[in-house]
């Protein structure tokens, strides 16, 4: 009998990092399966391919993404002499997550070599170079997807997604969106992952309960998108604003981003205030890209910008207290509201008009 001096806290709570990545893993698999099955009822453009083909292509992409990611990490660990770890499933969870995420963030029509290159760049440049899981500063999946969307812009073609139609609607055309179709994921999606919002919502709730995702990140993100899109919709459409809000919330990777991209812990800030700022910055960037940019599906860019800011945000905070937290929340709420109005008026080209009105209003008060 002997006594050890290791591990001073004799007890700790039930949370485990591995359990969390496992929950995330399961959620990703559920979302992947949903994405494969929703292909069955999405209308395919005439003469391109038939439905089973689409389903198989989706499956193949997800499988290849995961496989290539695992292979790259395996090859690297063989060169490091740590390949023994891969005998456990534990070590496979994170590579598979990254691979699945990259595949889920690309459209079904992506050529396989683009996917493989995206995974290679994401996993090697985005993750292994920085030292593997827990050390990277940019979300590796997003690095891969960004590489693919910029380098192979012509190969990654997606049709008129609801958001593209929505942008055209603001410019004067009119479209009819079927709410049921949008909710079930039956629309031309920018990526495989932009699937049924019911499943994504369920996953969101499950992951919030298991504390895998932080509501201060995802919740703030969703809330900010909701408020900005509501204001933009109100300024432009008046009574029909809810259509605008629904399309913004349901399609275009909003929920997917909230669940899997914004709440990614390693590349997000660590303190309460910084988390709020981070989520709001991403939400504002997302809406700005959607409204002003040419690439309307802008969650990927927005989250990468947020990742870029995260170390800076971490550096600005030296301690957390209630007062600072409330101050930050109030300032951010004001910023979100202002952004909504500014974006809404920019869309209508009425910013100057609104500015004049404000001055007049100010004059009236004075």
């Amino acid at each position: 009998m002997e006594f050890t001096m290791k591990k001073p806290p004799i007890i700790s709570n039930q949370q485990r990092s591995y359990k969390r990545s496992l929950s995330l893993h399961i959620s990703l698999i559920i979302v992947s399966l949903t994405a494969i099955f929703t292909r069955a009822f999405i209308a395919v453009p005439e003469g391109e391919s038939w439905v089973p083909d689409q389903m198989f292509k989706t499956f193949l992409m997800l499988f290849t993404g995961a496989l290539v990611s695992v292979l790259i990490e395996l090859v690297y660990s063989i060169s490091e002499g740590t390949s023994q770890e891969f005998s456990e499933y534990r070590r496979l969870v994170d590579p598979i997550n990254t691979g699945l995420l990259i595949a889920l963030l690309l459209p079904t029509s992506t050529p396989m070599y683009v996917l493989i290159l995206a995974v290679a760049v994401g996993v090697y440049v985005g993750k292994i170079v920085f030292g593997g899981y827990g050390y990277y500063i940019f979300n590796p999946a997003l690095v891969g997807v960004l590489f693919a969307t910029i380098s192979f812009a012509t190969q990654i073609e997606y049709g008129d997604t609801p958001l593209v139609l929505l942008k055209q609607a603001i410019e004067g055309q009119s479209y009819n969106f079927e709410l049921i179709d949008l909710v079930l994921g039956n629309y031309v999606a920018v990526a495989i992952g932009s699937t049924s919002v019911i499943v994504l919502g369920g996953v969101f709730i499950y992951l919030s309960i298991t504390r895998v995702i932080d509501l201060r990140l995802s919740g703030t993100f969703v809330l900010a998108i909701l408020i900005i899109s509501a204001i933009v919709g109100f300024v432009n459409f008046g009574g029909a604003m809810w259509n605008y809000v629904f399309v913004n919330m349901i399609t275009g990777l909003t929920m997917f981003g909230a669940v899997f991209l914004v709440a990614e812990t390693v590349s997000s800030p660590t303190s309460r205030e910084a988390k709020l700022i981070y989520a709001v910055v991403i939400a504002i960037m997302t809406m700005m890209v959607r409204i002003l940019g040419t690439e309307v599906e802008g969650v990927v860019f927005a989250v990468l910008l947020g990742n870029m800011l995260a170390p800076f945000l971490n550096r600005t905070v030296t301690r957390s207290n209630k007062k600072l937290f409330i101050q930050t929340s109030v300032i951010l709420a004001v910023v979100v509201l202002l952004t909504g109005f500014v974006l809404g008026f920019i869309l209508q080209g009425r910013l100057i008009e609104a500015f004049d009105a404000m001055i007049q209003w100010g004059g009236m008060i004075a």
């Binding site: 004799i10 007890i11 990092s17 303190s271």
Partner: protein, 406 residues
């Protein structure tokens, strides 16, 4: 799970450490082969100008002095006393309510009650500096086997309330607060309520199911400012209900502190018990009395609170006044994973500092950043290590950072 209540009041020999964590110098007042009586002063220990007595806990003969491991995991000199048959004990005269505060203070000092709790935020029962608030904790949580039935508190509720009152009187304190658990059984709560109702003692209920540093929060509410690692700096005297009961005994009945209740738990032991133990008894004697360890293997011996207690390298240390719980459990390997930067340590920290960022700065060796992050405000409560999902010992990193910047 504590299943039994036992006594171990007649050890053949006791080993009493002459120094402790704070009082590091001792002058011995007896010699080898001297006869001593329980409660007699055998040595004085010093910390700077302060001195406090070391009492013999049994009546017998001094058989020698030994250098042994103590409960702070340090090798210090112990006085060894062998028991004789007599059950004599030195008692002082009982005191009434109308005695001056100075006499009560002197009595508490003489009865060896200066240091009763050392874990976490607990302070010494010291009156050198002004005290405004008395904070007494009746909660007795010894995870991972919380099972205490609060029988001690229930039985001695009146005495505890009187002890708190005496403390308040001795310190000229403005307020006295008693912390109780929401999940105590009703009889205990009722007994405490009855005892405190007409004494002007405020009772605060906390939910111990949430491990979130409630005592820190209560102390912060009391003073309304950022509190320092030593609560005496903020004019708070923080001690446990056990100390209050012993203060009552010392002042009213003149009984010196020579025995105390210790909870001995852990899955390495056959039975988990609440022990009435003579101070100076070795843990190994107690374990023998309990029937030994379950089976061979690697154990962890942990003294005190499960968050901020002390890990001891052997079971040969002796029980002192500052030992309230001992946990001997089998060592379970838990692999440390990489920090996923979830920020839960930052959320839980009762002092409001950012342990994750401090750890990061310590890993990168940036002294200026460590200073910027208010590392000196850490009270070493251990909650950051408790909540970490990657099972990183965050507290150890923060301690290192603290040591680095002094």
């Amino acid at each position: 799970m504590i299943t039994e209540y036992r006594q171990y009041l007649d050890p053949k020999k006791v080993w009493i450490p002459l120094t402790d964590g704070t009082f590091k110098l001792a002058s011995v007042q007896v010699e080898q082969d001297d006869a001593v009586t329980a409660g007699q002063i055998v040595a004085y220990k010093y910390s700077g100008k302060l001195k406090t007595p070391v009492l013999a806990s049994i009546t017998g003969t001094v058989v020698g002095f030994e250098e042994r491991l103590d409960r702070f995991n340090k090798y210090v000199d112990h006085i060894v006393i062998e028991r004789s048959d007599s059950n004599q004990m030195i008692t002082h005269e009982g005191l009434d309510d109308d005695v001056p505060a100075a006499i009560i203070r002197q009595r508490i000092e003489d009865c060896g009650l200066r240091q009763f709790n050392v874990d976490g935020l607990y302070t010494d029962i010291a009156f050198e500096r002004p005290i405004k608030h008395i904070l007494v904790n009746a909660i007795y949580a010894n995870e991972p086997f919380i099972s205490t039935d609060y029988d001690f508190v229930k039985q001695h509720a009146e005495l505890i309330a009187d002890g708190i009152k005496l403390l308040q009187h001795a310190a000229h304190a403005e307020t006295a607060t008693l912390i109780v658990d929401k999940y105590m059984d009703e009889q205990t709560l009722e007994a405490l309520g009855k005892a405190t109702v007409d004494k002007g003692i405020e009772v605060v209920q906390v939910n111990t199911k949430h491990v979130n540093g409630w005592d820190y929060r209560i102390a912060k509410q009391l003073v309304g400012e950022t509190i320092s690692p030593n609560l005496i700096d903020n004019q708070i005297l923080y001690t446990s209900a056990y100390a209050a009961k012993h203060i009552h005994d010392a002042v009213r009945n003149g009984r010196p502190l020579i025995e105390r209740q210790v909870a001995i738990t852990g899955d390495a032991l056959r039975v988990n018990v609440l022990y009435d133990v003579r101070l100076g008894t070795r843990l190994e004697d107690l374990v023998d009395d309990l029937g030994g360890y379950d089976d061979g293997g690697t154990y962890m011996c942990h003294v005190g609170s499960f968050l901020s207690g002390e890990q001891v390298a052997a079971d040969s240390f002796s029980v002192t006044a500052t030992v309230d719980t001992i946990d001997v459990s089998a060592y379970r390997q838990e692999p440390e994973e990489v920090c996923i930067k979830c920020g839960e340590c930052n959320d839980i920290c009762p002092a409001g500092i950012l342990p994750q960022n401090i750890m990061d700065a310590e890993l990168r060796n940036v002294n200026a950043r460590i200073v910027d992050l208010h590392t000196d405000e850490c009270i070493e409560c251990g909650l950051c290590s408790y909540v970490c999902p990657s099972k990183i010992n965050v507290l150890e990193w923060v301690r290192r950072a603290k040591r680095r910047v002094g």
